[in-house]
Symmetry: C2
Subunit: 125 residues, 2 copies
DNA sequence: CAGTATCCACCCTGATACTG
DNA sequence: CAGTATCAGGGTGGATACTG
């Protein structure tokens, strides 16, 4: 149990709200899937797969979608047809993340070159 | 090489600015160390260690500090005394992250209960 | 089409011991 | 004090084969 003082509150790292969010988007694919669904609203499994490219395995796409669904960032709708059809739609909760992501992106674009220069300098020392 | 369309641009996931940021803070300790240094400005190695608690190993604290230093989020100053003294100070770049973290925290506090309810509901189904 | 199931490799992390 | 070196375990992610 980690106890620290952050921003004037005693926080347990396992209950830290920021960590709880980042734990879901620190993984390899969640953010990507969300952004893709943000653009298209609704997509089928294979459509998401193609949008990402062949670099994601079916397994990881399934795992990622299930996690995002569990948290309520997207909705999964299965149509009992043959062949099966499953649609994934972003929710309002999912959409509400986009301003945060935008901010991250803007910050990154402004500061990334400084960070990369810092890394290079650090390597050489 | 992953090619996707996000936000009207062709993005390679490895060059995605958001991922580049999150890759650094998706880890277990970086954010914590930054926030601690944000409060105190300057701290010694063992002071950071105590602030976090005994849950972080010396090794991981070292690794985390080195990474943050490499990116330019903090500055490391070593005083060649015996016993040695090393001070870590947050930089302006490091400080510039705090508004983003604040936003994440606010978002998390607003939405976390909904997310947790969603998770519980998902478990039962 | 939209998955599961299984196995495997790697990397992150921690524990421990040692050092300038 | 502030590390480094080494080893070990677990979990994430990937490859492949199979299925309702």
């Amino acid at each position: 149990m980690i106890k620290i003082n952050i921003l004037e509150n005693d926080l347990d790292i396992n209950n830290c709200p920021v960590r709880k969010v980042l734990d879901r988007f620190g993984d390899k694919w969640s953010l990507l899937v969300l952004l893709i669904l943000g653009k298209k609203e609704t997509l089928r499994f294979n459509e998401i797969n193609k949008e990402i490219g062949q670099d994601i395995s079916q397994k990881m796409l399934t795992v990622t979608l299930r996690t995002l669904e569990a948290d309520g960032y997207l909705k999964r709708t299965s149509y009992p047809e043959i062949p099966p059809r499953v649609e994934y739609t972003i929710t309002d909760l999912g959409k509400s993340l986009f301003p945060l992501i935008d901010n991250l992106e803007k910050w990154a674009k402004v500061n990334m070159s400084a960070i990369e220069k810092s890394r290079e300098k650090f390597m050489k020392s």
